[in-house]
């Protein structure tokens, strides 16, 4: 048997190493989880292919893929930053994983940093796959990539805040049900595949205030119409981010 030297040699690893290790574990867990993969990759790609190919909805002038792709990118961000993160974190809380990690040298700040980096890593993977499929379907993106990137980062912050707010306060099962429900509702009425014009004029202004609508609309105006940074969308997303992250940090229960 290999001898073990149990003599105390305590010490924390450098923050960078701890955060990278935790980020790797989170990314592995996401990519290995079948339901997560369905939500983050398979559904968005199917919607992209389906709605680009078949004239299911009237998207106005222009190629359908140019209308659909920004919506699907927004959906991908929501599925990872909100739905996936809420469910995973809710169950980590329930199984005492957050508690156990709290007894390691990885600080809460380090853990939140790792979660954010893991979300961004998965999003990079999603954007690459979705863009490749869209380009193959004839997508011709316009506009500034920097503006699109800023919108995606703001959307990530807003959706993460919303996800952590649920995960930190509700029971794990309630988070699971709630996060899936919110995902479906936002998918349906956030302009992802159906333009907002299909809704009555009276509710349209309200729908404009949803984070998914802001992200979808913002990405669409940058990538399809080639406009500069849409300030309205930026403001809506920033407001959601400040509100939800602020509330989550006050109410999050680790156990």
């Amino acid at each position: 048997m290999t001898p073990l030297d149990l003599t105390p040699a305590p010490g924390a690893a450098p923050l960078r190493r701890m955060v990278l290790a935790q980020t790797g574990a989170e990314v592995r867990a996401t990519l290995r989880n079948g339901e997560q993969l369905l939500l983050t990759l398979i559904i968005p790609v199917l919607l992209l292919v389906g709605f680009s190919a078949a004239p299911l909805v009237n998207v106005g002038g222009g190629p359908r893929v140019d209308f659909i792709t920004p919506g699907v990118l927004a959906l991908a961000v929501m599925s990872t930053a909100f739905t996936g993160q809420a469910i995973a974190t809710g169950f980590e809380r329930r199984y005492g994983v957050l508690k156990r990690l709290g007894a390691t040298p990885l600080s809460r700040t380090g853990l939140m940093l790792s979660k954010t980096l893991a979300v961004i890593a998965v999003e990079v993977f999603q954007v690459v796959v979705i863009s490749a499929v869209a380009l193959a379907l004839g997508w011709r993106p316009a506009g500034s990539p920097a503006a699109a990137l800023l919108l995606i980062l703001l959307g990530t912050a807003a959706f993460s805040g919303l996800g952590l707010l649920m995960a930190g306060t509700l029971r794990a099962e309630a988070t699971l049900a709630g996060a899936n429900l919110v995902y479906l509702v936002l998918l349906g009425c956030g302009g992802v595949v159906f333009p907002l014009s299909v809704f009555p004029d009276s509710v349209e202004p309200l729908l404009e205030l949803l984070p998914i609508t802001a992200l979808t609309g913002g990405l669409r105006s940058v990538l399809s119409d080639g406009t500069g940074l849409p300030l309205g969308a930026v403001l809506v997303l920033a407001a959601w981010a400040v509100l939800t992250l602020g509330l989550a940090s006050r109410t999050f229960r680790w156990e």
Partner: protein
Amino acid sequence: MESPAVEISDLVKRYGRTTAIDGLTLSAARGAVTAILGPNGAGKTSTIEICEGFRKPDGGSVRVLGLTPERPELRARVGVMLQAGGVPPAARCGEWLRLMSRFHAAPLDPAALLERLGLTEHARTPYRRMSGGQQQRVSLAAAVVGRPELVFLDEPTAGLDPQARHACWELVGDLRAAGVAVVLTTHHMDEAEKLSDRVVIIDHGRVVAEGTPASLTGAERQLRFRARPGLALDELLTALPAGSAAKESPSGHYIIEGQVAPELLATVTAWCAAEGVTADDLSIERRTLEDVFLELTGRELR
């Protein structure tokens, strides 16, 4: 002088109207094994979790390695095994242990630790597919992988089969030999008796007895034997020296307490002969920790 591994004085913890810990004072030495014994609901886990920084006390003071429990630098110096959970169900145990090791500056080799605990062949098994005993060993491994100065083990052998329990005991013995302080909770008297340098028995959130296992069980010895149930012990008592006690517990098992000397043995065997009974499994033993425990905490179930 170096501070003790754990020093608790007048600790109070309430949950709503129930007082879980009610003025508890104890200390655990560095490099020694301290067992906290107590019935369910005695306050063992609350005490440990306050030391681990998971819960805030309502009164009293707690010092862990001389520091207040919430100090972040303790996280690297203290190893923790929760009573249950703490591992993602889908995580493979080898990966989980490697992750835990990466949080530390000079960790043990995770593979060697897995081998030591008989988990090598399960390294790629998801945590949820492991047996309860295997899961316990993963949690134990995670508590020691960072080479801590102090480890808290909350019921480390609950649900373990005898082999795994001995492996755990051996590891605790080796930790102690390497100078690590161990504070553990347990219901198993034999575990406390075998493993610990010091035993603290708590009940209703207070310390009811503490000392080395030997000092708790006392110098007093017992004569035990088995025979048919219902012997008239009163008669025997009159023949025994003053201060002796005799009882039948459970039925058919007799315990004679007192100055266990050759004369006492002779008296008892003579009495058995006169009664026409054969005393089986006649033995002279020390009081066990279990006897002390039941005496102090009562026999009622809770």
